[in-house]
């Protein structure tokens, strides 16, 4: 048996035992508030993200009520919102503000900061084997800037004229002229301040993520042994670092137009029959700058979710992820392509049709890596020993939404069809499925999967199932009918469809959607209860509850500063050795050297290591000859 040299491995050697935690005198303030520990910062991001998500969800229910019952007055709305709902009917300008803030919070505060912030912070040091981030201080700063940005964004509800109203894309001239409408005033200013802080937070975070991944991997963790989660966070961070500064550039020019009277985006504006002095600007310029960020942004939202679901699906199918390299290359493909497709948001801005054609082609090419990922998920599920944990259900839900939302992307990416479809509910349906629901499901999958790691306790499975099925069915009931509304030409962001003869027939569908939305919103109560109850009273978690191969599960359940009590474990194999034939358990942790798994080693495992390959062949031959002797 022992003809192979046993590789030295430094895992769990007792005399290295020391506890980093004892070294620091932690007060409440340094432990929970101004923490520089990546695990605590991850929790801070998660809980802030959840609170923001609940707020944004409530906002969406408010405007859904308006869309379902445009003629009806609801006295409780006036009690709740005061001057924003006079007589129990939503104020028209406030309706626009609700739509804007719902979009902004969901896209940036929940699905960018809440998702990347939580899981990049939690998993990058954990899964790579680092004690903390490259710069823990920058990391702390990143969270607190995000927090301040959130407070300012929500604070805009308390201004006299209400929060920003020009939509989450804040197109000028509406956003550039404080007098254009109530939502362009103080609320818009606060929106811009909040977003500048938010971008600063994202850049601090992103720089840290990239640097940690490239510099602080443990021994043996080469790039091709990283879990797909880390690949996804890495490429997401690169996208953010390259795209967010462009948004800042666009916003800086917008601030100059708003507050200093320059004319970057403004031209020939007449307000209340008065010609303004703005001249020669181009609102299209803003759209270019905005969508150069805006399109990568949707991949910043979805890629971490895809990474999380790769991990969750492989673990719970008890199978290696299908096409690991293909998964990585498609993430890289998506990253690169996402920078050259922004024009598909601007097909109808009077763009040269030839240029539109170019953007159409690049857009449709993105379908290829996306489809590669989808098929790989399905192939991973195929004939796996599937464990339907709540995390697994949410990850499968992500795949479902990614397919059904992605398919409509093919239609919208077509420059000719877009003439008909742009700015209709078809678009709303498309992105709510493909990046809204899909990314939220990825995030929830991550929460259910890594909750034991974060809080040392388990979440309740039954409540998880209830949460999943209500949300999954609810989300389809909300967004699927919107496709048909969009095909009929129902425009987005309108306050009331009863005013327009041809759209009146859709009120019944809107009522249906609203009730489905209320149902899915109520389903979140199950999650919130489960989440906060389990933090304190959940069942105690074992060290490796899901039988995972990745190294975050080798850390003790009780969090300590520096993550591992002894030396950081060395990594010997890729993270997807599930159900490897010949091995006695259905998973082999990354920290297990090949010398301990002789029976399950394959020639493939030694592709880049000819010496070990030779030894492996020798071992196989010895095994065979001894088998023959027995016969």
């Amino acid at each position: 048996m022992s003809t192979l040299a046993v590789q030295d491995h430094g895992v769990g050697q007792g005399h290295h035992d020391h506890d980093h935690g004892h070294h620091h005198h932690e007060t409440f303030l340094t432990k929970y508030i101004f923490s520089q520990d990546h695990k605590m910062i991850a929790k801070q991001f998660l809980i802030t993200g959840i609170i923001m998500a609940v707020i944004a969800m409530v906002l969406s229910i408010l405007f859904r009520i308006q869309l379902a019952y445009p003629e009806k007055a609801f006295p409780f709305l006036e009690t709740l919102l005061g001057r924003f709902a006079p007589g129990g009917r939503l104020d028209t300008n406030f309706y626009l503000s609700l739509v804007t803030i719902h979009g902004t919070i969901m896209v940036f505060f929940v699905l960018t900061a809440g998702l990347s912030g939580t899981f990049s912070n939690l998993l990058i040091p954990y899964q790579l084997g680092a004690r903390d981030m490259a710069s823990p201080f920058m990391n702390m700063l990143s969270y607190w800037l995000f927090f301040i940005a959130s407070v300012i964004m929500l604070g805009s509800f308390f201004t006299e004229k209400g929060p920003a109203g020009p939509g989450w894309t804040i197109y000028p001239p509406l956003s550039a002229l404080p007098k254009a409408m109530p939502g362009s005033g103080m609320g818009m200013t606060l929106w811009l301040i909040s977003m500048v802080l938010f971008v600063a937070s994202q850049l601090l975070g992103g720089i840290n993520y990239v640097s940690t991944i490239l510099n602080m991997r443990t021994k043996g963790m080469d790039l091709w042994k990283m879990p797909l989660t880390i690949w996804a966070f890495f490429l997401t961070a690169i996208l953010g670092v390259l795209a967010f500064p462009v948004l800042v550039a666009g916003v800086v020019l917008l601030i100059f137009d708003r507050s200093f009277g320059t004319s970057f985006y403004l031209s020939d504006i007449v307000i209340q029959n008065q010609q303004t002095t703005f001249e020669g600007g181009s609102p299209i310029l803003f759209q270019h700058l905005f969508w150069f960020l805006g399109h990568p942004e949707v991949y910043i939202v979805i890629m971490p979710a895809l990474g999380i679901s790769s991990e969750v699906i492989a673990t719970n199918s008890r199978k290696p992820i299908f096409g690991y390299h293909a998964m990585v290359y498609s993430l890289i493909g998506i990253t690169v392509l996402s920078f050259i497709v922004w024009g598909h948001h601007m097909f109808v801005t009077g763009m040269n049709p030839f240029l539109g054609g170019v953007f159409m082609i690049t857009t449709l090419i993105i379908a290829v890596p996306s489809a590669v990922k989808t098929f790989n998920y399905l192939a991973t599920l195929w004939r796996g020993n599937i464990r339907f944990t709540p995390a697994m259900l949410f990850a499968i839900g992500l795949v479902s939404f990614f397919i059904s939302g992605g398919i409509t992307g093919i239609f919208l990416g077509n420059a000719a069809l877009d003439i008909n479809l742009h700015d209709t509910y078809f678009v709303v349906a498309h992105f709510h499925l493909v990046m809204g629901s899909a990314a939220i499901f990825g995030m929830l999958a991550g929460v259910y999967h890594w909750f034991p790691k974060m809080f040392g306790r388990m979440m309740d499975t039954k409540l998880g199932y209830l949460h999943f099925w209500l949300t999954f069915i609810g989300a389809y009931l909300v967004f699927f009918p919107m496709h048909f509304m969009g095909l009929d030409g129902v425009p987005r962001r309108y306050y009331s469809f009863t005013e327009i003869e041809s759209l009146k027939q859709w009120v019944s569908v809107n009522t249906f959607i609203t009730w489905a939305a209320i149902l899915s919103a109520l389903a979140q109560v199950a999650f919130l209860w489960n989440f906060f109850y389990s933090i304190f009273f959940g069942e105690k978690a074992p060290q490796n509850p899901w039988g995972s191969t990745t190294i975050e599960w080798t850390t003790p359940v009780e969090h300590i500063h520096g993550n591992w009590p002894g030396e950081i474990p060395t990594v010997y194999r890729w993270p997807y050795d599930y159900s490897k034939p010949g091995h006695d358990t259905d998973f082999i942790p990354q920290t297990t050297p090949f010398s301990q798994t002789l029976a399950s080693n394959l020639p493939h495992d030694f592709e880049d290591n000819p010496v070990s390959l030779e030894e492996h062949k020798q071992w196989v031959n010895t095994q065979r000859s001894s088998e023959k002797e027995v016969k």
Binding site: H23, A134, N215, A249, L253, G261, S282
Partner: protein
Amino acid sequence: MKAQLQDKDKLNLAPKRFNMWIFIFTSFMFFAALTSGFIVYIGGKGHALRTVMPQAFVYSTAVIVLSSVTMYLASKAAKGLQFAKQRMFLWATFLLGVLFLVLQVYAWYVLTFKMGVFFVNPNASQSFIYVFSGMHLLHILGGLVLILISLVSAYRKTPQVINLFRMEMSSIFWHFVDIIWIYLYVFLLLNQN
């Protein structure tokens, strides 16, 4: 063992240096976005800059190039353990940086009051001159702060590793803002008709 490990973690400055490089990428994207915005703007409506750049920009460019040289000399002195020299060249860099800042503001004065090229302008390509140089000046301020930090550690008895690290951080950044200014200035010169 315990203390050793922790020291090793603390002295692992490579990732922090890497942070600076990524930040430079970020900054670069910001200026790339602004200059692309300029190109889209003049391409769209037939507006051209039609401004001769003020003479002050030539001087400020010379000053900032010189400051890069002194910065290099300061780094070299720090590596050679010549701390008096390091302090001298750092001060020279700092003062040249301040001079650059003053010259840029003077250039704005010339643009506004002598040439009538206003920031608030129906031809926004002229406003872009102010945006480029203004946003660049913010980076200069950041660079000056970094130089001050290096100066402080050059005066105090900072361990040489930390001293060198801070030196390196400020010199990477300072050379970068130098190059960015040259890029912006050349960009403006190429587009000034």
